[in-house]
């Protein structure tokens, strides 16, 4: 199980822990497979993450970037690494780096499909 950001949640994933709203109200219990509707509800309630059975962030990332060639992905990553003073030693910086990379790749992929 792993904490997955809202954006990376997909229908069919199974909750490893209950999801609550900001005020502590239960939105969905553990063991429930997610549906599109659940994801919408999470977003409305400002939920930013959920604990998911059998998934981890690296696995999700590999799936997300499968559209890009290794060279393209590496180039984006290297350019970003060059600008970050530190992208791995604290979990805060690692997360900022991960999201920045993800968003860059998404922009890149969009551009690619438009051409």
């Amino acid at each position: 199980m792993a904490l997955i950001n809202l954006n990376d949640l997909k229908p069919g994933m199974v909750l490893a822990a209950p999801v609550y709203n900001k005020n502590g109200g239960l939105l969905l219990n553990k063991g429930v497979p997610l549906s599109e509707k659940h994801l919408k509800i999470f977003k409305t309630w400002g939920v930013t993450e959920a604990d998911i059975e059998g998934y981890d962030k690296e696995k999700l990332e590999e799936e997300a970037y499968s559209f890009l060639s290794d060279e393209e992905a590496q180039e984006i990553e290297a350019r970003l690494q060059n600008r970050f003073f530190d992208y791995s030693s604290s979990e805060i910086m690692a997360e900022i780096f991960r999201i920045a990379k993800k968003q860059k790749m998404e922009v890149y992929m969009k551009k690619g499909t438009e051409v």
Binding site: L3, N5, T48, F85, E91, I92, E95, F97, I99
Partner: protein, 286 residues
């Protein structure tokens, strides 16, 4: 000349910098007087056409839930409240201030400006995530945090060019290059300008300490939010703050915000949209 002499000579030059419109000072003073009524404030606001237009635009936006129905300045003032009004006047003034600064050989002012707007937007997004009482205060703090660089661009062109060069050749942040070349930073200058403009202390602390959280005394959350906003905007490469680097988030600044890691993505993915909205909002229709 010692560092202090240079600084004080700059402060003198600041006299010739575009000043904040007197509307801000007036409203700021009036708000501090408990006897001030909404009508008193409305009289002052009404004399400024651009501000009036923006005020009505804001209260008629979906944010307040009276779309298109508020037509008088006095009802707008009542709906918005004095503090939110003060923040609107300030961001409105700063926005216009940036528009008139003209050209610079050293840095693309539009890109520099975009960095400030993005920091304003990101600071406000952080405010929402941490349930900060006055999100608009954080918007203004983000907008103003690099105001000292604007002074450098105008009055220290040659040195500022060296500073920019230095950030590239030595791979250091603009603040560190400033310390080496000038002996002071844009935060120092911004702080002096803020004092001259009689900005609220909270905003001036954000200007002075956004790169050095350990100096923040009275408003740690506000300063932390701007500190983090700056780093997120740099990570996303929106606009040009003068150097291309992404510094490390101060651990105690992070702790003072009480954010969860997953909220970083929520904030980062909403910045572009907020920047576009802000640009539309402040655009002068003339």
């Amino acid at each position: 000349m010692s560092t202090n002499d240079v600084l004080s000579s700059i402060v003198k030059k600041i006299d010739t910098l575009p000043t904040l419109p007197t509307t801000f000072a007036k409203i700021n003073n009036m708000i501090q007087n408990p006897k001030t009524s909404a009508n008193d404030i409305s009289d002052v606001v009404s004399k400024d056409q651009v501000l009036t237009a923006r005020l009505l635009k804001l209260v008629n936006s979906s944010l307040y839930g009276f779309p298109g129905r508020i037509t008088t300045v006095s009802s707008a003032v009542v709906i918005l409240g004095f503090n939110a009004l003060k923040n609107l006047v300030l961001s409105s003034s700063v926005f216009d201030l940036f528009q008139v600064t003209g050209k610079s050989e050293v840095i693309d002012l539009n890109e520099f400006w975009k960095h400030s707007i993005a920091c304003a937007v990101a600071s406000r997004l952080i405010a929402v995530q941490i349930d900060y009482g006055e999100p608009e205060e954080l918007f203004v703090a983000g907008l103003l945090h690099d105001i000292g660089k604007l002074v450098e661009i105008q009055y220290l062109q040659a040195s500022f060019m060296n500073v920019i060069e230095k950030t590239r050749s030595s791979k250091i942040l603009i603040g560190d290059a400033e310390k080496e070349i000038l002996g002071f930073t844009h935060s120092d200058i911004g702080f002096l300008l803020g004092k001259k403009w009689k900005l609220p202390l909270s905003l001036n602390e954000a200007i002075a300490c956004h790169n050095d959280f350990s100096q923040a005394r009275k408003f740690p959350q506000l300063v932390s939010a701007v500190h983090l906003a700056d780093i997120l905007v740099r990570a996303k490469e929106i606009g040009d703050p003068g150097d291309i680097y992404v510094p490390v988030v101060d651990a105690s600044a992070w702790d003072s915000l009480g954010l969860r890691l997953s909220q970083i993505e929520t904030i980062m993915e909403r910045i572009e949209e907020g920047v576009n909205d802000a640009l539309k909002f402040f655009k002068r229709e003339n």
